[in-house]
């Protein structure tokens, strides 16, 4: 049951987006998010929608995968939409009981909803086309400058990738401990949510102990293979820009310039 959890949501396909350097995708996502909060008119929406549709088509990932992420925020969307709709002061459109709908309210609610939906779709395109490892690599390389500020960038990236490797192992272990305790009469299924959570406590202790033991073993194995931090380390698969990455950067910049132009002109 626990093994069904998949981490990350990489969708393997052979598309241009999949082949792009993760740094380009991170940069693009950042520009896209900024653009989402810049636009405030119809032309802006149109331009961003157009670009989004083009990118979705390019990614070769089924659209249903992208809107999957939306399900979890439906309630948030509704709440934000309703609050914006009723609580924005301005020119009155309609009112009943104590609720008033204003012109500005309608505009805000629409913009807000579109922004959030686009935000989720846009970022899922990135996680759907990039493996967690590529993402870690991309982050490590992009944030390398922070090393000068004493941020342990390499170490954080290394921890992230090790965590990714150990999640399935720890899940399997949890499964094993659960079965061993169930065989001796432990009950994980009945009761309300608080009782269930309480029943999980005896599961956590052995899991923690074993996780620490694994961490110790792993640290030793890493040291035995000459690991001594990021200094002087080479890469088997170094990130290297090719011409398509440069073109992608130019396209992203062009996209951003148009967003700004649309905002200034209209």
């Amino acid at each position: 049951m626990l093994r069904d959890i998949t981490l990350g949501q990489y969708y393997p396909a052979d598309s241009l987006l999949h082949k792009l350097d993760p740094r380009v995708k991170l940069f693009g996502t950042m520009i896209y998010i900024i653009s989402l909060f810049l636009f405030d008119n119809l032309w802006g929406i149109l331009w961003i929608t157009l670009s989004l549709v083009a990118v979705i088509r390019m990614s070769k990932v089924p659209f249903s995968f992208m809107i999957r992420g939306l399900r979890s925020i439906v309630i948030l969307l509704l709440v934000a939409g309703v609050f914006n709709l009723f609580l924005t002061p301005g020119e009155k459109l309609a009112s009943f009981w104590i609720l008033t709908i204003t012109k500005e309210g309608v505009k805000n609610a629409t913009l807000m909803t579109i922004r959030m939906v686009y935000l989720i779709i846009g970022t899922s395109i990135m996680t759907l086309t990039t493996t967690p490892n590529q993402l870690t690599d991309g982050l490590e390389k992009s944030l390398h400058g922070l090393t000068k500020l004493n941020v342990p960038v390499h170490e954080i990236a290394m921890m992230m990738s090790i965590a990714l490797r150990f999640i399935p192992i720890l899940i399997e272990e949890t499964d094993k401990i659960m079965k061993a305790q169930m065989a001796r009469g432990a009950d994980f299924e009945s009761g309300n949510i608080f009782q269930k959570a309480k029943n999980m406590v005896p599961l956590l202790v052995p899991l923690f102990v074993s996780a620490f033991r694994r961490a110790y073993d792993l640290a030793q194995a890493m040291e035995a293979r000459c690991y001594h931090g990021g200094e002087g380390r080479t890469k088997m698969k170094p990130l290297q820009y090719v011409s398509r990455d440069r073109n992608a950067y130019l396209l992203i910049l062009a996209f951003f310039v148009i967003v700004i132009v649309l905002k200034v002109v209209f």
């Binding site: 990714l164 490797r165 073993d217 035995a224 000459c226 001594h228 890469k235 088997m236």
Partner: protein, 285 residues
């Protein structure tokens, strides 16, 4: 000078109370002399708590001697400057296959060692290919280690060490958590590395059967080396082995029992083939 040279090697574990006062000293390795030539296949035998794993960790400088001297490939293990160089020359494979695989793709894990010692990218790819082929795991290079069997994982771990091109590999009970098939897989791979690539092998184990194919055997008990010799010499002395709470391989045991009950057999029979021949010889005369 030989490849590994240990003289009067001692390692003590200290147990301290809250004020950092030593309350207990456990001598895990006690005055061990070890002498290994390059290219040999060495086994170190001992039951749990005999100090064999502690000794193994010295060979990779995960631990340093409390006293005595240890030279590996001519380099002093007590000198911190030599640590990385020694680790590169004497790789180590551990017991639990899950806890020594670092990356989530087989080929990237094998590349971890060479990456650490700063091998250029092109050469990393060459080394990964060579070492994965050497242990017969090349077809699995793009798999996730989580989907491999225990024996396969352990072979990947060996490939990971091989990719650093060490002169020697120390295997600390590499088969303890494997099923018989996996055990055979791993041992075959190790023997092949020893024969074809001339890598010095130090196999730490408590399975008697695994010792049979080695050049020289050290038997440890309570931190000291209590017996040493060729497998045949070791297994000829069934009584002493039993005194150190170790068993002999089944065939040797059978021959020993037969001999005790009056069959005229030579000492130290190691394989089924040898026993058969000895019996046939008796039959003919």
């Amino acid at each position: 000078m030989s490849f590994i040279e240990a003289k009067n090697l001692v390692h003590e574990y200290f147990r301290r109370d809250e004020d950092d006062n030593v309350v207990d000293v456990l001598t895990a390795v006690d005055n061990v002399d070890l002498h290994v030539e390059a290219g040999q296949f060495i086994s170190i035998l001992g039951h749990n708590g005999s100090g064999k794993s502690t000794l193994a960790k010295h060979l990779n400088v995960l631990l340093t001697p409390s006293s005595g001297s240890l030279f590996i490939d001519g380099k002093d293990a007590s000198d911190e400057k030599n640590t990385l160089k020694i680790r590169q020359n004497a790789g180590m494979v551990f017991q639990n296959p899950d806890n020594q695989i670092i990356a989530s793709v087989v080929e990237e894990d094998v590349a971890f060692g060479p990456e650490n010692i700063g091998v250029p990218t092109d050469e990393i790819w060459e080394r990964v290919e060579k070492s994965l082929k050497a242990v017969g795991m090349w077809d699995y290079r793009e798999h996730s280690p989580n989907k491999l069997s225990g024996g396969q994982k352990q072979r990947v771990a060996i490939a990971g060490v091989m990719a650093m091109e060490p002169k020697c590999i120390v295997l600390d009970e590499p088969t303890a958590m494997l099923d018989p098939d996996g055990r055979k897989e791993v041992l075959d791979a190790v023997h092949e590395l020893n024969k074809k690539k001339g890598v010095t092998i130090i196999l730490i184990t408590h399975y008697m059967e695994e010792v049979v194919g080695s050049d020289y055997v050290f038997v440890m008990d309570k931190g000291s080396v209590v017996m040493q010799g060729t497998p045949r010499e070791i297994f000829s002395d069934v009584e002493t082995l039993k005194a150190h709470r170790l068993d002999v391989p089944q065939i040797t045991e059978l021959a020993y029992e037969l001999k005790k009950s009056g069959v005229d057999l030579p000492d130290g029979i190691l394989t089924r083939q040898e026993l058969l021949e000895a019996l046939r010889y008796l039959d003919e005369n």
